[in-house]
Symmetry: C2
Subunit: 286 residues, 2 copies
């Protein structure tokens, strides 16, 4: 197995797969040499190479675990180095059109099966990675529309098995549907949290003691806003259309709140808050 990128997600996948003894050697590559050394020390990879093509050369399974913006250049660079019948996958948070663009870069003998494990934590980087990160999580596999590719059903079975063996529940989903859904329940929440923290930091310039008055609510936002900036930049760029549509929807809810507060409409505010509270029960039954 080759692991391109050894941050939180890549590192955790390496550790989990090693612990479950699902693959032989794991060869790592990352543009950050320091992370590669730490990944070897932590046991997430067995060795590393100086380039991505060298890492993929002998791998049956290649995992992209870098920010999504780097997928296309990496795949281009490796295109002629993949082993015959290799499976290419990733752990990225955006799919949509990117899947077709990557499929188009690949030789016919490589099967690309994009994946997105719904797991994460506040910190990023190899030192935050854990063999149990994916335990109990949901993993979405979003195959593209490349027709009748030889070996694809077997590859899907193999990748599904790997995720299941490290504790994930796998769902197969259309890549565009994936992006529409995730824009609302993942990408938008992160933007909203980043914006809130930016807003409070901006206000704190005029009121230096401000952040000391923060309690539970705000601190939850700072945790969400501590996710990887490069990763979220790439998600915003790649899933632009769906994020803009989710953001517009959100802005109109917020504008409705503003009008209700301005009008002193307590009953409508209370009804909206009461409605929001119901979601916790819906999540339990989801």
């Amino acid at each position: 197995m080759a692991l391109i990128g050894v941050g939180l997600m890549g590192g955790s996948l390496g550790l989990a797969v090693k612990r479950a003894k699902l693959v032989g050697e794991i060869v790592g590559y990352s543009p950050e040499p320091a992370a590669l050394k730490r990944a070897v020390q932590r046991g997430a990879i067995d060795r590393f190479t100086k380039s991505a093509p060298e890492a993929v050369r002998e791998a049956d399974l290649v995992v992209l675990a870098t920010p999504a913006g780097s997928f296309e250049p990496l795949v281009k660079e490796c295109a002629s180095s993949f082993k015959l019948g290799a499976i290419l996958t990733d752990v990225g948070s955006v799919k949509g059109a990117l899947v077709g663009r990557i499929d188009a870069l690949l030789p016919p003998h490589v099967v690309y099966l994009p994946a997105h494990p719904l797991a994460g934590r506040e910190r990023s980087g190899i030192d935050a990675s854990s063999a149990t990160l994916f335990d109990g999580c949901r993993c979405l596999i979003t195959p593209g529309h490349r027709n009748n590719q030889i070996g694809r059903p077997d590859a899907l079975k193999r990748l599904t098995g790997l995720w299941e063996k490290i504790g994930a529940t796998v769902t197969t989903l259309d890549p565009f549907e994936h992006d529409r859904y995730l824009a609302l329940v993942s990408h938008l929440p992160h933007l909203v949290a980043y914006a809130l923290v930016n807003c409070a930091m901006d206000a704190a310039k005029e009121a230096p003691g401000l952040l000391g008055f923060s309690a539970g609510g705000f601190r939850d936002f700072t945790r969400i806003a501590a996710s990887s900036p490069e990763m979220w930049r790439d998600i915003c760029l790649e899933n632009r259309a769906e994020i803009l549509s989710a953001l517009a929807r959100y802005q109109s809810v917020l504008e409705r709140y503003r009008r209700l507060i301005e009008a002193g409409d307590g009953a409508s505010l209370e009804a909206a808050f009461r409605d929001a509270r119901r979601v916790k029960e819906e999540l339990r039954s989801a």
Copy 2:
């Protein structure tokens, strides 16, 4: 001590004060009789009365722990029943002009010292209360501008001592400054979370499986949005001006994000996200 309201905050205060043996009898009153019975069972109060004036009659210390919108009618109702030299306090999240309005309703022999412990949890109600809720929290005391009131310095000392003995760190603050700060680091975050959950629920009407794709980020929001709807309604109404100003600031950050995403300006997005990440270090040193 009299406890008016025996939900999460009132119940926890009763339990904490009892455990530390700081007062004699605790007499409770609430418009919800079922909560009073549970509060006796849980040991948060010793007995309860059928009206607020009966509860306050013999109390040296009276605590309002109902939604802030009920403070004025309750104080009006109790005005002639307070004991000579009684201290009135509360655990509400809004101060500002409300403090002066309550001061104006009180007889000269009652000292009002508004308080706001920065503590909370996702659930509300007596069954969510805990004797350790305030352990390690910050408690803001925001005296009004009633001049040279006899007994006020002693009352402040006594109330500060009580909060310190149940684990809080006390800061004294102007009530208007309190509302300006809390609008940004507490009221706005709650509104933002409620709005996000409303937005996702609205979208889920068209995409029934949507909420099942939610992971960490969104779930943090649903926890925040599970706070008491009545309490947040009252906060929005009472701290309207500061909340509207914080909301306007937030809406402009969000609109800036929207434009950056639309323009595909990855560098500026990344810079904004990176900036937000810094707040966690600032919080640690705050």
